[in-house]
């Protein structure tokens, strides 16, 4: 059934799809979209390393009652904390990237990186 290896392979496939898009696309916004796909894939991988089968979410509530040391039945909370950070970082980079795209569009009237060449390069 679903185990950590399947989740790992799944996130690897998503990761490589994103990298493929970042390499082959010519449009700047689409490259940013591909990088967002890469970030989502690494987030899924990070959560999957904390996934324990038949466990409960790491939140103490009335249903759960208690957290006992001898019988700890919750999924790993540390990767969740890391992913929270990673998601917010992704938004920050995206915002800066979109700002740069808008500025570049003002100069070149296109977002295709092949048409952004200037004659006086090198």
């Amino acid at each position: 059934m679903i185990d950590n290896r399947i989740l790992y392979i799944f996130s690897t496939i998503l990761f490589l799809i994103g990298i493929f898009g970042a390499i082959t696309n010519k449009n700047l916004i689409k490259i940013l979209v591909s990088i967002s796909v890469v970030e989502t894939a690494s987030n899924i991988f990070l959560v999957s390393i904390g996934y324990i089968k038949n466990s409960k979410p790491p939140i103490l509530d009335a249903n759960m009652g208690k957290i006992s040391v001898s019988n700890l039945n919750i999924s790993d909370p540390l990767p969740h904390a890391l992913v929270l950070t990673a998601i917010v970082i992704g938004v920050g980079t995206t915002a800066v990237g979109i700002g740069l795209c808008i500025r570049l569009f003002q100069y070149y009237r296109t977002l295709n990186i092949n048409r952004m060449g200037d004659k006086d390069e090198l």
């Binding site: 540390l78 890391l82 950070t85 970082i89 740069l100 500025r103």
Partner: protein
């Protein structure tokens, strides 16, 4: 002294960056004072910590009252604090240039806030003892790099900064993946504990981790397949940004490389060997770096734009340093440290003086250097001196560094020795294009019109910063035994992985 106060090196810049950003009347007038006072505080406080480290050895700073394997910690050792002091001096110089230049008037408050966060982020990267914390602050570091590259708001700078953004965000995704992998296997994020248990990881997982971390770090280090971003970013950026990029950003990435490979992976004795898949990681890295040296030097040779030449030669130097580090021996390490010292001091000076010489010319190509010795005498002399130091004339740090590099690879003959040809090639090419530039300074420019109306106003900030740097250079020139002692102590620290672990985890001995 409470050792936990080391965290002030990071928190005070952050607090004052929030203060500087506030659009309130009183602060708006005095933000320059807050900005400079913070940098001075950091410099003085790091000197204070340095004196403590010299007395008692490595210091560990605990955050949140939780001891290291559980909480985040900062480690201040001889190596890291000395690095920080050197970087703070470079930062102070470029900050003085930025503050007194007044050509970014409407955004100056925001930019100084960004610069303070830049300061905080690299201090944290150098001091930290936790892998994920390194990732977060590395992200701040690269975003602030992106912002300061794009400040000029021209085609080149925007293109450079978006290239940097794309490459660094792919790099950070790789780093995140590797962090997750390490946590999944070892169950910890503390660098000392990872170093303790790294040998136990299985062969392919180890390869995986090393390749992913390398991919993320080398993209910042301007190594060949990832060096696309420098061609535009250096050429399009402002002068103080060039100083920051060449004097700080590369050096911080180099620091991460050294920490990762020497302290965490224990590179000199790393055993990447399996019976069905032999992998010589040393050969792989050497091929990579020598390719990078050749490509960077050739691009520098063929470029016309002055800033681009300097950028690619800086990238080639970084690759040379990596080449020296790859040997994994003490002599290789000391040669790398010597080259780093010469880069930190002379590279910013080269950018500063070349910017001043070409000032007022429309095109910043080689011809704008003509007759420089008569137009801008002071800066031409600065340029010549720093070029001499950078290319490695006898009795300069770079000279000793390159000598040590030869010694490292030639003292024991094996098939790694052939790679010295690359270094010889690189030194020759470097001499050639630097002397071409110096030669241009003495050529009379016939097309230049005689107009003496343009005042040769020497801005004080440039003058002072140039003077500071050149006095540091001359001190190093006169007293070479200063760095001899420092380098022995540094290499002792770096090759003693066990002491680093001992500082943090105690290990039950002593």
């Amino acid at each position: 002294m409470n050792y936990n106060t080391t965290v002030l090196l990071i928190i005070i810049p952050i607090l004052s960056s929030f203060l500087v950003y506030m659009p309130v009347g009183l602060i708006k007038k005095s933000f320059k004072i807050i900005f400079l006072a913070t940098i001075l505080f950091n410099l003085l406080f790091s000197l204070k910590i340095f004196s403590v480290v010299l007395k008692y050895g490595n210091l560990i700073t605990i955050i949140g009252n939780y001891h290291p394997p559980f909480g985040i910690n900062l480690v201040s050792s001889f190596f890291s604090i000395l690095f920080l002091i050197a970087l703070y001096i470079v930062f102070l110089i470029s900050a003085i240039i930025f503050i007194f230049k007044n050509d970014t008037k409407n955004n100056q408050q925001k930019i100084s806030s960004v610069l303070l966060l830049y300061l905080a982020s690299f201090s944290e990267i150098i001091l930290t003892g936790d892998l994920f914390n390194l990732f977060v602050f590395f992200e701040i570091f690269s975003i602030s790099n992106i912002i300061i590259i794009s400040l000029k708001n021209e085609k080149f700078s925007l293109k450079g900064s978006i290239k940097y953004l794309l490459i660094s965000s792919i790099g950070s995704a790789l780093l995140l993946f590797a962090i997750g992998y390490i946590y999944a296997i070892l169950g910890t994020l503390n660098l000392a504990e990872i170093a303790l248990n790294f040998e136990k990881i299985s062969f392919f997982s180890k390869c995986f981790i090393i390749f992913f971390l390398m991919g993320s770090i080398l993209s910042e280090l301007e190594v060949f397949p990832f060096n696309l971003w420098i061609s535009d970013s250096y050429a399009g950026a402002k002068n103080f940004v060039n100083i920051l990029l060449s004097g700080i950003s590369c050096v911080v990435s180099l620091y991460i490389f050294i920490r990762m490979f020497f302290t965490i992976f224990n590179y000199p004795s790393i055993s990447l060997y399996s019976y069905n898949f032999p992998l010589d990681i040393k050969l792989l890295l050497l091929t990579f770096f020598s390719l990078s040296i050749i490509v960077n030097q050739l691009v520098a040779l063929t470029s016309k734009n002055i800033k681009r030449i300097l950028a690619f030669s800086s990238a080639a130097t970084i690759s040379t340093i990596l080449f020296a580090l790859t040997s994994g021996t003490k002599s290789g390490f000391s040669s790398a440290i010597l080259l780093i010292i010469s880069t930190i001091i002379s590279k910013p000076l080269l950018f500063l003086s070349s910017h001043q010489i070409t000032k007022g010319k429309m095109e910043k190509n080689l011809d704008s250097f003509k007759n420089g010795i008569n137009r801008k005498r002071y800066f031409s002399i600065l340029f010549i001196v720093s070029a001499i130091f950078f290319t490695g004339f006898p009795l300069t740090p770079a000279f000793f560094g390159k000598l040590m590099l030869f010694y490292t690879y030639a003292s024991k003959l094996n098939y790694y020795t052939y790679f010295i040809i690359v270094i010889i090639f690189s030194i020759t090419v470097e001499f050639f294009y630097y002397f071409r530039m110096i030669h241009k300074l003495f050529i009379k420019d016939e097309t230049e019109r005689e107009n003496k109306n343009i005042k040769n106003n020497l801005s004080i900030s440039y003058f002072v910063s140039g003077l500071t740097m050149i006095s540091i250079l001359i001190i190093f020139f006169i007293f070479p035994n200063i760095y001899e002692k420092v380098i022995t102590k540094m290499s002792e620290e770096i090759f003693n992985q066990k002491e680093y672990i001992q500082t943090i985890l105690k290990l039950g001995e002593k």
